[in-house]
Each structure stands twice: as C-alpha cells, then as structure tokens.
C-alpha cells in the first residue's frame, strides 16, 4: 500500500532586525538622510564607497569620511527580468556595481534602465533618492541612466544645481544637526517556506483528524514516541511500528503560566503540562484546564477534552485541553523515568 504524501503547509517568517551601526556606518547613514553618499579613504590611497569600517590593509577605523558623487559609472551589471520580493524595483531592472565619482571602489545597487538593451558597462548613472530619506541604504531608491553626456568624474551638483565639491559636501555634512544622527537601522526580513511534516508526523496528524493518537515504537529499544519522530534519538533508526495510544495519562511535570503574551489562547493563570499518555515513553505537551491551577500536581491523572468532531483537522488543536479524571494519582515510580 503506498504511503500518502507527507502533509505540507505554508510557513511565513518575518522579523524586523534592529541593528546598531557603529561610528562609520552611523556617519554614512546620517549622510544618506541628508542625500549625500560618503566613502572612506584607505591607507592604500583608495576611496572606498560605501565606506569600510576597518582599513583593508591596517585594520584601523577610517578617519574622516569623504563625500563622493551621486553619479558614477557602471562597472558590471546583470538583468533581472522578474524582480523578487523586497528588491528595490518591482519592474524589470539591472543590478549593477557602480563606481561613484570620487570613489575607487563600486557599490551594488539597482539601475532603473527599462530594458537590458539600455544597459552597458561604463554607462553613467545617477542616484534617485527615495521620497523620504531616513538614514537607511534604501534612501537610495535606485540609480537611473544619465542621459545628458558627461565625462567620467564630472562634478556633481547639489539640489540647487550648483556644482558641489568635496569642500561643499563637507560643509553640508557639518551643517547637519547633531540630534539627527542615525545610530540604528531596521531591516525587515520576510521569508516564505513550504513546511513539510515527516512521514511519521503526517500519520500522527492524519490520525488526529480521526480522533486517534498515533505514536511509533522504536524497533531497537521498544520506546514509544508521540508525536512520533523520524528516528529514535537513542538508536538513530527509523521508528516503524505504529501504536495507538489512549487519550488519557499522567502529568509528569507542569508550570503555571502567569505572564500574558500576544496570541495567548487562555487568560493567565493557567497550567501548561507534560502529559505522559498511557503506553507512551515521552510526554506530550498540553494545557490542563478544568481545575484551579493550584490543584495541578505531578502524578495527576488527566484525560483529553476533544473539540466537537466537526472542528477536527490534521492538528493537535483537536484536543482543546486535558482535564483531571479524578482517579487516584499515579505513583511516582510509574513516571520517574519519563521526566
């Protein structure tokens, strides 16, 4: 008989990393908020833009950062026919390494060129700033081709169209208010997965949809695991024999949850416990309701409270909670090896 496919479900992961910048990147990001790009001068005489934090030769932090131009030349590029989520543009664009005027190294960014035919190595591009600049690499929305002819290394202009020199850039930097210094950046990460349950977990979850608790026995040591695992952690062999377990058992250990947190299903205080189902060798995590938290104890006998059958799915949530059966407590020796 062929095994049905393992169960799969989408898994969405998101986290907004907040990162401290340190002195060099703090200056760099602060300047970006003021629509200026900075580089660092290395002991090798080269200007690195974006700046290094430690000199590639001496490993010393850079001295004063120097402004570089908002225009530069493309040193290499690749074409993105279908942009991915989170990239700077949602229409086809080029990634490019761009050597900004006044810099000796290149920065990676997007070029909004319209088509691959409009891209070539050596072409001139100019920064396009985001509508609001906040001190983040994404203050540079992207670069765009410079259409009017200009020689490499040409002077760049400020927002009034006046030519800006390094001196000019320094003056603008110094006029930036101290209070606005950027010390951290937030970088959101959003990832999408298809989570696959193992074959054993899939049988367990399908069993739950029929109101059954299916564990597996290790063929080597005879221990019964629920939820079942792909391999016995003692013997490293696949667990093959399926065992149906009772929906009642013994509290081996527990904690009283007093702390509220987002997404909590039950109002504290309540009890989260390890329940050793009769016939199993590892306890099962669940809630104990139906009594005062203070009454829950090690050895307490409990039974599953199933949700109404029409609400069942391939999930442990089919069991709403466990509740005390009122039987005498299990002797300590019966669960001492399962703590």
């Amino acid at each position: 008989m062929s095994e049905p496919e393992p169960l799969r479900a989408p898994l969405e992961i998101g986290f907004d990393y907040t990162r401290s910048l340190g002195p060099t990147l703090s200056q760099f990001m602060t300047a970006l908020a003021g629509r200026c790009i900075l580089g660092s001068r290395g002991t090798d005489g080269r200007v690195y833009a974006p700046p290094f934090e430690y000199d590639p030769v001496t490993l010393a932090p850079p001295g004063e950062l120097v402004p570089v131009g908002p225009e530069g030349g493309v040193t290499t590029w690749s074409w993105v026919p279908e942009p991915l989520e989170g990239q700077p543009l949602t229409r086809p664009f080029a990634w490019a390494l761009i050597r900004l005027d006044g810099a000796d190294t290149a920065m990676l960014h997007a070029v909004d060129a319209g088509s691959a035919a409009a891209m070539r190595t050596g072409m001139r591009v100019r920064v396009r700033w985001a509508e609001a600049t906040v001190g983040h690499i994404r203050d540079i929305a992207c670069f765009e081709p410079v259409t009017e002819p200009k020689g490499r290394g040409a002077a760049w202009t400020d927002e009034r169209g006046a030519p800006a020199t390094s001196e000019e850039g320094r003056r603008r930097l110094k006029s930036a208010p101290e209070a606005s210094e950027i010390n951290t950046v937030t970088t959101p990460v959003r990832l999408h997965y298809e989570h696959t349950a193992s074959p054993e977990e899939s049988r367990f979850l399908r069993g739950l949809a029929e109101g059954k608790l299916l564990g597996q026995r290790c063929p080597a040591c005879g221990k019964v695991y629920i939820p079942p695992r792909g391999a016995c952690p003692t013997d490293g062999v696949p667990t093959t024999d399926e065992v149906e377990l009772a929906d009642h058992g013994t509290v081996t250990t527990f904690c009283v949850v007093n702390v509220p947190f987002p997404g909590q299903r039950v109002t504290p205080p309540y009890v989260a416990a390890a329940v050793l189902l009769d016939g199993a060798d590892i306890p099962f995590q669940h809630l104990i309701l139906g009594c005062e938290p203070g009454e829950v104890r090690m050895g307490m006998r409990v039974r599953a409270f199933w949700k109404p059958r029409h609400q069942w799915g391939t999930t442990p949530e089919n069991i709403d909670h466990f509740y005390p059966t009122g039987e005498p407590d299990a002797p300590y020796e019966t669960y001492a090896h399962h703590l």
């Binding site: 974006p50 991915l84 190595t121 999408h192 997965y193 013997d235 490293g236």
Partner: protein, 350 residues
C-alpha cells in the same frame, strides 16, 4: 602531527524536491547506515559528530537539533554544528582529531533548498547593513561576476557553456546526480538568459540532499580502510565581504588556501563551483594543469545540495583515492557570494 585520513563517504541522491523535512533526518538516516556499513563502524565508535546546515534554509531556529535524532544521540555524544557548508564541519572534526579528543569523527551536512526560494534566502548571507536590505539574489550577484570576466576577456559565454556540458556528461555515471546527459555547448548557448549574462545551465540546479564523511587518525584509519585518503593539507581563507572593493574575476582566498594546502600537482580536483564561470576561476587560481581531471562526479552543476555540496566534493575526491583510481586529489568548498570564502583539502594515498 597526527595523521588523519578520510575513510568513508556517502551522499544522498540530489533531488529537486525531497519528501523529507527540513531537519534532514529522512535524508541522513540512510546515508549514516551506508557509511557505517562501508567502514564497519558502529555509531558508538564515532568520537565526535559535526554538522553543517542553515536555519535560514530550513525556516526554523535550531533546525540542526532535529537532525541529531538521526545520529542516535542518547546517551549524549560529543557533537557540534557550523552554520556553513559541512566542509567546515569536516575541518572542525579534523581539528578535533588533531587535538587528540577523538580518533574517529564524522561530519555531515544537509539542506532542503526546495522549502523556500534559494536565491532569495541566500541574500541574507550578505552584509546586513548595505546589501541584504536590497535583497540582491545569489544568481544576480554571480551574473555580475560572470560579466566582469567576459568583458575582461578572461572567459566567454561559450567557455561557460562548455563547463556545463562537461559537468552533465561526467554526471552520466553518477547515480546521485540531479542533472546529467549529453548536450553540446552550442545547444546550451541557444537557451535564453535567466540573469544576463547567465543562462540556466550556468547555475547549479536547486536541489535537496545530504552528505557524510568519516575521518580517522593513524592506526584507526589503516584498520578501518584499505586505502585511506590521507589529508596532507586542509586550509580555508576568506576575501572581503565588499563585492565592489575586490577583483571579482579572481578568488585570492581560493588561491591562498590552495597554495597553503599544497594543491599543485593533484590528479583529480572536485571543485565547488555553483556557477560555470566560477569553475574557470578556480581552475585558474588553483593552478590545475590540463592533466588534472576536474569534477569527475559532475560537480555541483550536476547537483548542489546546500550545506552538503562542499563536503561532498571532499568526499568524492577522497573516494577517488579510496577506490584506487587516483593517488593525489583535492576537494574544494566555497561559501558566501561570488567565491568569497574558500576551503581546500588535499589528500593522498600512502
């Protein structure tokens, strides 16, 4: 110094989309059984276990802990993990033997790239301040590197297609390969770009897989293996994370690792080059002469299980010695964008 040799290697088939979980157990259980059987070792004989895998690839925290079930880690074993290709786990295992803490050590790596969008997940290995927030994908970054070499006249799109054609032809005899077959460079060049100047054949296929290598010291190695692959050099180096500040047409860290490990004069080299032009860079910097056979397995263009592929290169190169086909071989692993970090392991028969 203690002599250490590779005495066993096994790898799972590389498949586009495996049925298993992201903790690798389903891929690992059979290859552990295979490598232990081939060496006559029992699990209890392994003095140190070290894995390479990635939580970002798995989409869950501490995903490598799930994999430990596959090694039967109760009662507790000495175990470690690197969030890198398992070639670096092998390096840790090698050091463990050199320091006398174990005489037999096992390194394993696994990756289920099919669980997410690999090229996007890999952008998170970049500088988290200046690059990762832009989500530059791994294929696009490799394309920037490929164009630099093409426009500098170091390689051509045709050279790149020939690397792909050779890889697939070599993989015909590799039952674990994901991609193999006879195809001409001309046919490949007729295909459209996916990230100009890269075509699909220039990029390693996305696939799921796992690999395992066993090391043993001196006498133990001789007892357990008729023809151990003795490690004579094992070195890793790294280049700047700043893509725009280094010469991407070469890989100084690979050159330095190769020089330090004594790469010259090997008969066979298994190179971890996820993009065709990177094989050309590696051949150049490792000084592989025309006499050296490169990637008899097909290399990672024939199957690239993330976090296991570099280890599998070393295992495949060792297997050339263990099987008697060669006397001096090299396994290479890379990590990071555009060949940023490189490891070279040179092995020989005695």
């Amino acid at each position: 110094m203690t002599d250490v040799a590779v005495i066993g290697f096994a790898q799972s088939p590389v498949v586009r989309r495996g049925e298993g979980t992201t903790n690798g157990v389903e891929m690992l259980v059979p290859i552990f059984a295979e490598v232990l059987a081939s060496t006559g070792l029992a699990r209890g004989d392994i003095g140190f276990w070290c894995s390479g895998s990635s939580d970002y690839l798995a989409g869950r925290a501490f995903s490598f802990v799930g994999a430990v079930d596959a090694i039967g880690a109760f009662p507790p074993v000495m175990e470690s993990h690197v969030e890198m290709d398992a070639a670096w786990a092998l390096y840790e295992a090698w050091v463990k033997i050199l320091t006398g803490e174990a005489d037999v050590a096992l390194a394993y790596g696994f990756g289920k790239s099919s669980a997410s969008e690999l090229r996007r997940v890999l952008s998170l290995q970049l500088d988290p301040y200046l690059l990762a927030p832009l989500w530059p994908d791994s294929v696009s970054i490799a394309a920037l590197q490929a164009r630099l070499g093409i426009e500098a006249g170091i390689w051509s799109e045709k050279d790149m297609a020939e690397v792909a054609a050779s890889s697939r032809a070599a993989a015909v005899t590799n039952p674990r390969a994901q991609l193999s077959g006879e195809v001409s460079a001309e046919e490949l060049l007729g295909q459209p770009y996916i990230a100009e100047p890269l075509r699909a054949h220039d990029c390693a296929p996305v696939g799921d897989g796992a690999a395992v290598v066993i090391l043993a010291s001196g006498e133990r190695a001789r007892e357990l293996c008729q023809r151990p692959a003795w490690i004579t050099g094992f070195e890793h180096r790294i280049d700047s994370a700043s893509l725009g500040a280094r010469d991407l047409t070469t890989a100084p860290s690979a050159a330095e690792a190769g020089r330090a490990a004594g790469a010259s004069g090997v008969e066979v080299a298994e190179l971890h080059a996820p993009f065709t032009h990177q094989e050309i860079i590696l051949r150049n910097v490792l000084g592989l002469s025309g006499a050296a056979t490169v990637n008899p397995s097909g290399g990672v263009l024939a199957g690239n299980p993330m976090f296991a592929a570099g280890l599998a290169r070393i295992g495949s190169a060792a297997q050339e010695i263990i099987s008697g086909r060669a006397s001096r071989t090299l396994g290479h692993a890379t990590s990071g964008p555009a060949l940023q970090q490189n490891l070279v392991c040179v092995m020989e028969a005695r």
